[in-house]
Amino acid sequence: MKIVFYIELVGQTFLIFLTKVGIFSRFFWDILSQALRGPFYTKTFLNQLVQIGFLSLPVVGLTAVFTGAALALQIYSGGMRFNAESVVPSIVAIGICRELGPVLCGLIMAGRVASSISAEIGTMKVTEQIDALYTLNTNPYSFLVVPRVCACILSLPLLTLTSDILGVFGGFLVGVSTLEFNPTNYLLNTVKFLELADVISGLIKAVFFGLIIGVLGTFHGLNTTVGARGVGKSTISAVVWSSISVLAANYILTEALFNK
């Protein structure tokens, strides 16, 4: 009897998983078809660009500066063990542009943006505002989802580029003030070993992270169940799934971009 129970449990779990995959696939297809079909709400998109991109600049910038500074200190203390202190500028630049810039930016945005998108749309769902949009002949996918997803896709690479510059600047500040590097040499070493591909690969990652954050934030928001508890649950799910997906996508993209 117990074996039957466990088989049933596995079967039910698998069916629930397939149902969720189906719902998500349908949602993704709806976004794509609505984005192509239009209308495109430019004003809403620009507003979201400010909310998602511009207003995230302080938190992303500060994180990048401190991460770059800490990275410079770590690489210096590690490099000292085999007299390789001079690699600090290049390793900071490569590390920030290839990995830390896009990933930290993605994680911060997963926390800041996926949660806010999910909570906002979730609250609209439980207060009948989504229903109201339908009755006002406005497709919620066109009006709410597409502008937010597009704003995320555009904002993430721009924020990552800012994060790269500020991260390198953080390393430069510590390198010059604490580690007694010559400012000119530090900058020359940064530029000398950093390739365009390092920066571009980080930006490509950021585009995918933007897509993940936008899609998962709106998905969990629109699938909010009734009440304040429902909004809380969907917000948590949006942050958790966005963060995990960003990290998983980072590994897959790193494999694809660098493992040649």
Binding site: M124, E128, Q129, D131, A132, Y134, T135, L136, N137, T138
Partner: protein, 244 residues
């Protein structure tokens, strides 16, 4: 004069999970009629409206608007264009000003909206529902519950729809404000000669506003008739509603 059928619902069934929410619901709403759907909480009133609006899929049955089946997408759009809905929770958009909420349908659906004209029209609608014009630039959260309800009514009237739908228009309001909202709805429908559907559990509202009443219980149409017939009816549930 033969009145035109505006909405016809035939044998509508809705199942959620294993529960039958609506069972074989049928009714006809003719032009300039005001149908009031009454029933206790959880009877299926709001679900019936959601099914008519296309917000919920139906399991079987059919809904016609102006003799057209509204299951097709293109017909749904046409149908929604001729509807004005006032939600139970008002459903005003927090991040838009009062006038933007009122003019939303035109503001975000016309290819090149004339902002000046739309704002003027929105302010006219606000005046029609008895609101001061200086609230036009305020946000919904800055208004009282009664004012928000009036903004919701103004929004539903904005594009001069054929049919007005009011979902529990007096819920959450004090008795004085409830009376004001009921008489406002009555005035709007009388003056504009609109076809309307109102959902409520308030029998006094139903008797005052309706030209036809439907009593829903457990997802089924328990009783239907005019307010006069309601007063004379021996239906047990209807009498509970009438006598408290």
């Amino acid at each position: 004069m033969i009145k035109k059928t505006k909405i016809e619902v035939n044998s509508l069934n809705k199942i959620l999970g294993s529960k039958e929410i609506l069972k074989d619901v049928s009714f006809i709403l003719e032009q300039e009629e005001h149908l009031v759907i009454i029933g206790s909480s959880g009877a299926g009133k709001s679900m019936l409206i959601k099914c008519i609006l296309g917000l919920e899929n139906i399991n079987s049955g059919s809904i016609f608007f102006d003799d057209n089946l509204i299951s097709e997408n293109s017909d749904k759009q046409k149908f929604l264009n001729k509807l004005g809905v006032c939600f139970q929770s008002n459903a005003l958009f927090d991040s838009y000003t009062v006038w933007e909420n009122v003019a939303f349908k035109s503001l975000y659906n016309l290819s090149s909206p004339n902002i000046f004209n739309l704002k003027k029209l929105a302010i006219e609608r606000l005046e029609e529902v008895g609101l001061p014009t200086n609230i036009a630039e305020q946000y919904p959260s800055e208004l009282s519950g009664g004012m928000q309800k009036r903004v919701g009514i103004a929004r539903s009237m904005f594009s001069e729809p054929d049919i007005l739908i009011f979902d529990e228009p007096t819920t959450g309001l004090d008795p004085i404000m409830s009376k004001k909202i009921i008489s406002l709805i009555g005035k709007i429908i009388k003056n504009s000669k609109k076809t309307a559907i109102t959902i409520t559990h308030d029998i006094n509202l139903a008797l005052f506003l309706a030209s036809k009443i439907i009593l829903i219980d457990n997802g089924k149409v328990e009783w239907s008739g005019t307010p006069k017939q309601a007063m004379l009816s021996k239906n047990k549930l209807l009498n509970i509603f009438l006598n408290g």
